[in-house]
Amino acid sequence: MLIFECPYCGVLADETDLAAGGEAHLKRFGPGSSDDEFEAYLFNRENPKGVHFERWRHINGCGKWFNAARCTVTMEVFGTYPAQTLEPPTEIMNNISVKRPGWKWKEFS
């Protein structure tokens, strides 16, 4: 039963106040993209056993989407941050490096 700090409200929000939204930092491929790109974007989601970046929405709260870095095995949360960003804050990436040396996720490591 997860709990995350909403980076907008600053509260610890119970999982039942949130909606899970899958992989974060998706790069959208629209018209003009290749079949490969489009398939990868829409279906071939990251599914790591370990460090993962994912989206959550504070649905019963402020209604805002945020991203979380979480371990899919231990549920450890390395940090949350607003969804309006192209890459995770360095601070969070550093935190992960301390706790999961050698981690890698998409183009981040």
Partner: protein, 1003 residues
């Protein structure tokens, strides 16, 4: 015979006798008794039947680990099966019956299984009942199922209520024994927020029974003193009858509080489920004594040594007059000594250890008890009650050296720490050879969201059985917790206790050590499920070597006690059979709940009127008063139709349609979603969200729009009105309001966050009413206030207007093909406006219509309905909606998806109208069949019905459907197949059945 001591016992209120019934017979006990202690005091020892062999069983324990004494408790709406007699406090009027026997507890036909036991070893059913095949369904399985289950199924709806409670603590201390009390006390003194819970009705745990003194006072008075101090702390909460049942990720903890199970008066919630978040959970859950494995160890009268002691000290009940004690540790001596000192006979203590016990043994001998070292029980004599034991050498094969008469056997095979809560969320265990226990491996604790350990154990739960060490561990942990969670600096001393010198336990997995097979066939590990040593050995022999395979093959540990008594003994036997160390065999997975939890408490208060929210339109009360037949649409209730006495549903719907088409009808459309999309980039955004262009919509105008998912499928439709330069009002379907609002927010926040757009869901602010039919304008004109002529307010236009004194917004849109006005007013005046319309329309016979009439009318017009024509696999092109898909736009959600090969396939099924040759209604959901079969031998299909109705307007069945190349095949007759195989022929026609030119709506 068992009996009650004159001094009654520490938990008994001797001045409060209580009458209760067991198996129809009235008994008397006292306030404070459990059902088990009260029946024991009344000389009842045979209390239940086992699951598989229906062997006679008595109580073995005094706590939640009890496998044998389960009862059907209570009556009617308060009936409950499988209630543990050891955990049920009696109250005036309690009724209970024993379980799993026919015709009676004393004489049970099922016991035949016991005589056939050798033919029914572990997993026998996997090897039998295979031939002949039909016998399985008609003979074998019914036979197996007949013997299923323990207690009876309840027959009535539950008469109790339940509730939940969310709570947040720095620390939850589970278990109110010495370890828990001291930990909570020390932590509490620092001022941090602490919850201390205890599953039993009273505090103190084992120490009050087992130990002499603490801080130079009897344990009892120390407990009371500590409780007093705790109770005075504002920051500490204390709860009894509350069990910690589960530990989950991120510090989530479930507490199960039983509020009225022990009371005759059932008012108030029965159970309260606490959903707790805690930074730390400290398990001071003690340890559970292990049975000893000897032949006949399941006969009534064989109990755990600690249970015999509990019944004597807590309830003043002696289980028997003559008790043989068998043990591999010093603790059980306490039982013998207490019994002897109470004037009962203890013919012998059999200590399996070659060198016997320590101080305790000397004390026992000193008061005249015979103590035999290196000797054990080879088998118990008796069937429904112990009559004696055969004694043999611990190291031998079981040759009887001596028979000793007795009516009770108190056994102790050592202790197993209660590590369940430690393990639920991934805490690991390590085998400790010295104490023969699986103990928490503190180097591999469960971790929380910060990656930090969040469960601790103290006391016997840590595998610590030495009193002095327990109080020290508790004090130290209490202090460190206080520091960790920012409490005040405090000093707390370790209480002074006296520690007797104990000799270490020696593992005793079965007795005697080289027991002959005959004995092992009679030695029970899992009492409820009747798993014997021989079963475990058979499983090992057959390759079920993993402890998880063993469990599933033999059902060891799968009974209602979840192996609290049996697991460790069982896996030790497995380890022995595999010749590998116990540490390598390991345990099965510990899963919540620690003890079973009522389903009612999990559901909480959500029943009857608050089972789920019902969403109601502002006009709901009118609908209820006017006999609306409601239909659930999501959480909304919408009138399906408005029935009048004596009408069938079909008649009602036809009446509503004909009235609307011929004069005027009104529809409560308030549930339709209304989203305001506003901002400098609103038009740009909507162009991305809708398949068609919205940015060029003129202010004051409306446009029908489609929305697709990124995967290309049609997800919603509705009319968009442009309010001003920056603002659009988007209508969605009833189910779509929240869904599409979320969809828009998701795209705005996570993809196009540079766009300046606000989306606001204002669905509930308004009541929206469709006024529909050729007389609708006349009706509205009667209300007056605004010119709504065709010239002033044309088709697909909207205006803010005053009507009959109401502030309204009128949209000239039509979902029925008639002249139609959709009018919204503030929700608070919705009902008034509705009534005003009814008044004004009375001369036109105005009547409300429901969703079914709405559906039929839109189908008559060939309008699609999300959820009918679409099902999540339909793209707009399938519905011939290409006109609403912009070719000009570079991008919109779903555009790229439409480019994929299968979506461009010209052979996709497309929308058409369908008319049966005989005018009947096509069966809903039916498929059109083509020639031949597909590669899997299934009949080849070429289309299907998506909507089908009787049209009262056309007086015939009409349908819409998706058909392969449908639009090119208008006029063709195709075959639909009913489930019965019967064929219904239908002609492919244009989907617009009524007023093809649109002349009726455009007036």
């Amino acid at each position: 015979m068992s009996r009650r001591f004159s001094n009654k016992g520490r938990l008994i209120q001797a001045d409060k006798p209580i009458k209760f019934h067991f198996n129809g017979v009235q008994f008397t006990g006292y306030q404070g008794d459990t059902l088990a202690s009260a029946l024991l005091a009344n000389g009842k020892l045979l209390l239940g039947r086992s699951f598989k062999y229906h062997r006679p069983r008595g109580v073995v324990s005094s706590g939640p680990e009890e496998p044998n004494f389960l009862v059907n408790l209570g009556k009617d709406n308060f009936f409950e099966p499988n209630q543990r007699g050891t955990m049920t406090n009696i109250f005036e009027g309690l009724t209970a019956t024993s379980q799993n026997h026919f015709p009676s507890l004393e004489f049970d036909f099922g016991e035949i299984n016991s005589w056939l036991a050798r033919f029914l070893p572990a997993g026998f059913y996997y090897k039998m009942f295979i031939h002949p095949r039909p016998f399985w369904k008609y003979i074998y399985e019914p036979l197996i199922r007949m013997s299923a289950g323990l207690g009876q199924a309840p027959k009535e709806k539950d008469g109790s209520t339940y509730e939940h409670f969310h709570a947040f603590y720095d620390v939850v201390v589970v278990g109110g024994g010495i370890a828990g009390l001291q930990t909570a006390l020390v932590a509490g003194r620092s001022g941090i927020k602490v919850l201390l819970i205890e599953q039993h009705a009273s505090w103190g745990g084992r120490a009050q029974i087992d130990e002499d003194e603490i801080d130079d006072a009897p344990v009892n008075s120390w407990v009371n003193k500590v409780l007093e101090e705790l109770a005075a702390m504002q920051n500490v909460s204390l709860r009894t009858r509350m069990t910690g049942v589960g530990v989950y990720d991120h510090g989530y903890f479930l507490g199960y509080e039983q509020l009225s199970d022990h009371k005759a008066n059932k008012d108030g919630p029965r159970h309260r489920l606490w959903k707790i978040r805690s930074q730390l959970i400290v398990c001071c859950t003690g340890a559970i004594e292990r049975p000893v494995s000897f032949a006949g160890n399941d006969i009534p009268g064989v109990l755990l040594a600690s249970a015999v002691r509990d019944y004597a000290i807590n309830f003043g009940v002696s289980v028997g007059q003559k008790t043989v004690v068998i043990t591999n540790n010093d603790d059980a001596y306490k039982t013998a000594i207490f019994l002897k000192e109470s004037g009962l006979e203890v013919p012998v203590i059999l200590d399996a250890r070659e060198h016997g016990g320590g101080e305790a043994a000397a004390r026992a001998r000193a008061i005249g008890i015979r103590v035999e070292n290196g000797k054990v029980i080879s088998r118990v004599i008796g069937r429904k009650r112990v009559r004696g034991v055969n004694v043999c050498l611990s190291s031998g094969e079981g040759e009887t050296i001596e028979r000793i008469g007795c009516d009770t056997v108190a056994m102790s095979g050592g202790w197993s720490p209660v590590v369940h809560l430690w393990s639920h969320c991934g805490g690991k265990l390590e085998w400790n050879d010295e104490s023969s226990m699986f103990c928490p491996d503190k180097s591999r604790p469960p971790t929380n969201e910060n990656g930090e350990s969040f469960v601790e154990t103290v006391g016997a739960a840590s595998g610590n059985t030495q009193f002095n060490e327990i109080v020290k561990e508790a004090t130290e942990l209490g202090l460190s917790i206080g520091r960790k969670f920012g409490g005040k600096q405090i000093r707390s001393d370790v209480p002074k206790v006296k520690q007797h010198v104990e000799k270490p336990v020696e593992p005793l997995w079965f007795t005697p050590r080289r027991a002959k097979r005959k004995l092992r066939n009679k030695t029970f590990l899992d009492f409820q499920n009747d798993v014997k040593i021989s079963d475990v050995e058979l499983a090992a022999r057959e390759g079920f070597e993993s402890v998880e395979h063993l469990k599933r093959y033999t059902t060891l540990g799968m009974a209602t006690d979840q192996g609290k008594l049996s697991n460790i003994n069982g896996l030790a036997v497995l380890a022995n059979a595999l010749d590998s160390p116990i540490s390598k065999v390991g345990t099965t997975t510990f899963r919540p709940p620690y003890t079973p939890v009522s389903m009612g408490s999990i559901a909480g208060s959500a029943r009857d009127s608050v089972f789920q929210p019902v969403r109601m339109s502002p006009i709901h009360s009118w609908h209820v008063e006017h006999d609306a037949v409601f239909e659930p649409v999501g959480f909304w209730r919408r009138p399906f139709c408005f029935a009048k006495k004596g009408e069938t549903i079909e008649q009602v719907v036809n009446r509503e349609i004909l009235q609307t088409r011929s004069s005027v009808g009104i529809l409560d459309a308030s549930t339709l979603g209304k989203l305001i999309v506003s901002g400098p980039d609103a038009g740009k955004f909507l162009d991305l969200v809708y398949t068609n262009v919205m940015s060029n919509l003129a202010i004051g105008k409306c446009r029908y729009g489609l929305m697709c998912s990124e995967n290309g499928f049609l997800i919603d439709d509705g009319v968009v009105a442009r309010i001003d330069e920056n603002t659009f009002l988007c209508h969605t379907t009833t189910g779509g309001a929240e869904r599409i609002h979320s969809h828009m927010e998701e795209w705005l926040q996570t993809e196009w966050w540079d766009l300046q757009v606000f989306v606001q869901n204002i669905t509930e602010q308004y009541a929206q009413i469709a006024v529909v039919g050729p007389n609708s304008r006349k009706l509205l004109n009667k209300l007056g206030g605004t010119d709504i002529s065709k010239e002033a307010l044309g088709f697909m236009e909207w205006t803010d207007a005053s009507l009959g004194g109401f502030q309204t917004r009128i949209f000239r849109i039509s979902f029925s093909g008639e002249l139609s006005f959709e009018i919204s007013v503030h929700a608070s005046v919705g009902l008034d406006f509705w009534n005003a319309l009814l008044d004004a329309g009375s001369e036109y016979g105005v009547m409300p219509y429901g969703t079914e009439a709405l559906h039929v009318m839109r189908a008559e017009k060939g309008f699609i309905m999300i959820g009918d024509e679409t099902d999540g696999t339909i793209i707009p092109q399938d519905l011939n909606l290409n006109w609403a898909i912009s070719k000009k736009k570079n991008d919109f959600i779903g555009k790229r998806a439409h480019e994929r090969i299968f979506m461009r396939n010209p052979d996709r099924w497309k929308l058409v109208g369908l008319e049966t040759l005989d005018g009947t209604v096509l069966p809903d959901g039916s498929y059109a069949v083509g020639a031949g079969r597909n590669r899997n031998g299934q009949k080849h299909t070429i289309g299907r019905v998506t909507s089908t109705y009787f049209s009262p307007t056309l007086n015939r069945g009409i349908a819409m459907g998706l058909v392969e190349n449908g639009p090119d095949r208008v006029g063709e007759v195709i075959k639909f197949e009913k489930i019965s195989g019967e064929i219904v022929e239908a002609t492919i026609v244009d989907p617009v059945f009524y007023d093809k030119s649109g002349s009726k709506q455009n007036v």
